[in-house]
């Protein structure tokens, strides 16, 4: 079986969450969830993984606000965001394209980003469309800024951006992305052509490492089964696992 694009992204995120204590996964995030369950499976009990949609991983008993309370307190180490636009300085836009008051496109809203982006030490950005339309120099609406002025309380922010083409690291001091690795089958030129923001890069960008054989076996075994119980469509699309009703 060939390595699928989703498995490459899971592998990158899995490396990025090494050694963290509590990973919270938001709604509709099968790729981050798979990476988190893989970390648990590889070195049990591994990190705490909380995931509201999953009965076995729903650790919350104080309503929706508990995640934000825990993040504010520093109890959450990792969270994930995407964005309609992601800007070169790490800003994310979950709200509107064009003028905010009369937008060309409107998205659901900022969710918890304007707070979590400041409070969770490791925010991992992922975007399944790598294009000049999505990765832009400046976003049209800042749901959450990538960096803050001195004096503003901030303990968290973006550490990486993972796309179908590559893995960028975010340099907080410079407020810029830096190309870390390019996924197998893709090139630096492809990344340059499809990225709307300027970024730093090494002279030769390494290829994104594949998951080891043991990790891949676990991912395609128990982790895939667990993911398929929570995200039946994803389990079917990626691993051909039959959908099971949760009713």
């Amino acid at each position: 079986m060939e390595t699928r694009e989703e498995e490459v992204l899971i592998g990158v995120i899995h490396r990025l969450i090494q050694g963290t204590g509590h990973i919270a996964v938001g709604a509709n995030s099968p790729i981050p969830a798979a990476a988190a369950f893989l970390a648990q499976a590889l070195a049990p009990p591994g990190p705490i993984v909380s995931l509201q949609q999953s009965p076995e991983n729903n650790l919350w008993t104080d309503g929706g606000r508990e995640l934000f309370d825990c993040a504010s307190q520093g109890r959450i180490d990792v969270f994930f965001f995407s964005g309609a636009q992601i800007g070169g300085q790490g800003d994310i836009n979950l709200v509107a394209i064009g003028d905010y008051k009369s937008p060309k496109a409107r998205f659901p809203g900022s969710y918890g980003s304007a707070h979590l982006y400041f409070m969770v030490p490791r925010i991992i950005l992922f975007r399944t469309e790598h294009s000049r339309r999505t990765l832009v120099e400046t976003v049209d609406f800042v749901s959450a800024p990538g960096v803050s002025a001195p004096g503003v309380y901030r303990r968290g922010g973006p550490v990486a951006l993972v796309t179908p083409l590559c893995h960028f690291a975010f340099d907080k001091a410079k407020g810029r992305f830096r190309l870390e690795t390019v996924h197998p089958g893709h090139t630096v030129e492809e990344v340059l052509d499809n990225t709307g923001f300027a970024f730093d890069r090494p002279e030769a960008a390494p290829v994104t490492p594949a998951l080891g054989a043991d990790a891949m076996n676990l991912l395609r075994g128990t982790v895939a089964e667990k993911i398929a119980r929570i995200y039946p469509k994803f389990g079917s699309d990626v691993w051909g696992l039959q959908e099971r009703s949760m009713a």
């Binding site: 659901p108 707070h115 400041f118 800024p145």
Partner: protein
Amino acid sequence: MARICDLDEAIAGIEDGALLAIPADYAGNAMTATRALIRRGVKELRLLTVPTSTLQAELLIGAGCVAALETSAVGFGELGSAPRFTAAVKAGTLPIKDATCPAIHAALRAGEMGNPFGPIRGLIGSDVLANRPDWRVIQNPFPPHDPIVVVPAIRPDVALFHAAMADRAGNVWIGRRRDLFHIAHASMRSIVTVERIVEDNLLQDETLAPATLPSFYLDRIAVAPRGAWPLKFGSEYEEDTQHILAYIRQAATEEGFRRYLDEHVFGLVAA
């Protein structure tokens, strides 16, 4: 204290122009009551989603019941965007206060505590804050004396939600969806639909009492079996995903949305 009545009498407690709070779609949404509200022709609602919404906000907005909206997000996640919400915002016909989830929680929590305001970290430098002239940045009175956002308390006129069961005294078992406590505590009064009425007093059962909302927070309670349909309700029933996908397709146009209302709101009463 709450009284148990029929659905139309229950929703009569939601007046035109009310600041109405509704929960996120994992917590218990009174969808049968929402359809009844639309049939009644409720107007000028100021709608607060706590902190996000899917079909409930979408239907109220599409049906023209909402004069103003405060939300952290309205959309169907993986299934797609909320077409009537999106169209209304793009057309500029829906005044919107874009928030962020924990800011809505903070404002309601201040309301729950009877405080005039509450602080919340983050937000500084965002366009969320830049577009909220009703929020303030003050200096933290304690070290490190950083600038910090404070939001004014929100006390909704009325909260509307769906729960598993009520007893004859008007106490309501909320279960694990503690959001419903927070919304009810903050609101001036709550109107609730339930799957069923039970005979024993919930507050006198040590296992059920911890997750029971006492009657004095509530105003009116109506029985509405499968009252959250087509949304998920706790462990009792799953989301009717096919219905929602069909809705999203149909509501892509105003005409399609009207046909949906005719069929599912004004026509046959959804079971």
